[in-house]
């Protein structure tokens, strides 16, 4: 009888320890998972921002050379951008490639200085948004002198 009692006592102790251990594990695991999720989120955000930065820089450089936002987008992204009233929205996927129903939106806004007598100074603003939240933006400018004879100041 003592043998059985010791045996059961031991088993009960084991189960009690296991339950306490599991409880402790669940609590600590919740905290650890949050830290992991935070690290993973940071890493994803950072990679997305880096990709956006490279893309925006490419577009800015192409825009700086041409002063043509559509051409700049074609060079940087390889897709056509249709500007209406100096504004264009492009849909991009997670890898920042043009996509029909991507999660990321690139909003391009072009402002041209008036009047363009001898040349045109313009600015292009690029804003990358994910689910309506901005995660990267870059403004750049271009100055393109007027081709041919510029206006005379008499």
């Amino acid at each position: 009888m003592i043998l059985l009692k010791t045996y059961r006592k031991s088993n009960n102790l084991l189960f009690a320890e296991m339950i306490i251990a599991l409880l402790f594990f669940v609590i600590s695991f919740t905290v650890i998972i949050r830290v992991f999720a935070g690290a993973d989120g940071l890493e994803r955000d950072e990679r997305r921002r880096e990709q956006a930065e490279i893309l925006a820089q490419s577009a800015a450089e192409a825009y700086s050379v041409s002063g043509n936002a559509e051409w700049a987008v074609r060079q940087a992204l390889g897709c056509e951008a249709a500007f209406a009233d100096g504004r264009c929205e492009l849909s991009l996927d997670e890898g920042l490639l043009p996509s029909e129903d991507g999660e990321i939106t690139l909003v391009l806004t072009e402002k041209r200085s008036e009047p363009a007598v001898v040349g045109c100074y313009s600015e292009l603003s690029m804003v990358f948004m994910k689910r309506g939240e901005e995660f990267y933006s870059l403004d750049c400018g271009a100055y393109i002198p007027k081709k041919g004879e510029a206006a005379h100041f008499d």
Binding site: I2, Y7, E17, F36, E43, E46, E53, S113, V118, A150
Partner: protein, 176 residues
């Protein structure tokens, strides 16, 4: 009866040691080990992601600074170009433009001769940050077409904080 039951105490030992049940404490040790491992990995992951994030933020900051300076330099260029077109055909283009260019750019403007043609060389710079700046050198001439100016340099330069910060490169001379 008591003796019989106590006789079992030896058997309890033999049953326990034979692996019938797991000893109390093993689970706690295993759990503590696991939690420590997980905590270490979690902290290392977060630290790696955080340091990468900070590095990338620095890069982003520089990019923003560069394009802000680039925009500023282009604005100055557009104003200079406008002025040069305005003064073209005037009585003293070089003198008047050089003076106006100095005022607009805040840099230097000197009359120079390049490929047998008289020009005004305008040098100006826009600060990127405390250490770097965007240096621009443009050559202006009296013309109505798009050849009014030629960009000689458009580059970032780093200000040397001390005289000995240059790179030591062997100049091909004798080594003492």
């Amino acid at each position: 009866m008591t003796k019989e039951n106590f006789g079992g105490s030896g058997e309890t030992r033999s049953k326990k040691s034979s692996g019938g049940i797991v000893g109390v404490g093993y689970i706690s040790i295993m759990l503590i080990f696991t939690v420590i491992c997980l905590t270490i990995f979690a902290v290392l992951s977060f630290q790696a992601a955080y340091s990468n994030n900070r590095l990338s933020e620095r890069g982003e900051q520089f990019t923003q600074q560069y394009y802000a300076a680039d925009m500023q330099a282009k604005k100055i260029l557009s104003e200079l170009d406008f002025k040069s077109a305005q003064l073209t055909g005037g009585f003293d283009f070089f003198g008047e433009f050089a003076e106006a260019a100095r005022e607009i750019s805040g840099g230097t403007a000197e009359k120079t001769v390049r490929d047998g043609r008289e020009c005004v060389q305008v040098d100006y710079s826009v600060d990127l940050n405390s250490r770097q700046k965007l240096s621009v050198s443009v050559l202006f001439q009296s013309a109505y077409n798009e050849d009014r100016y030629e960009i000689l340099t458009w580059k970032t330069t780093t200000e040397e904080t001390s005289g000995d910060s240059h790179q030591n490169v062997w100049d091909g001379g004798d080594i003492d």
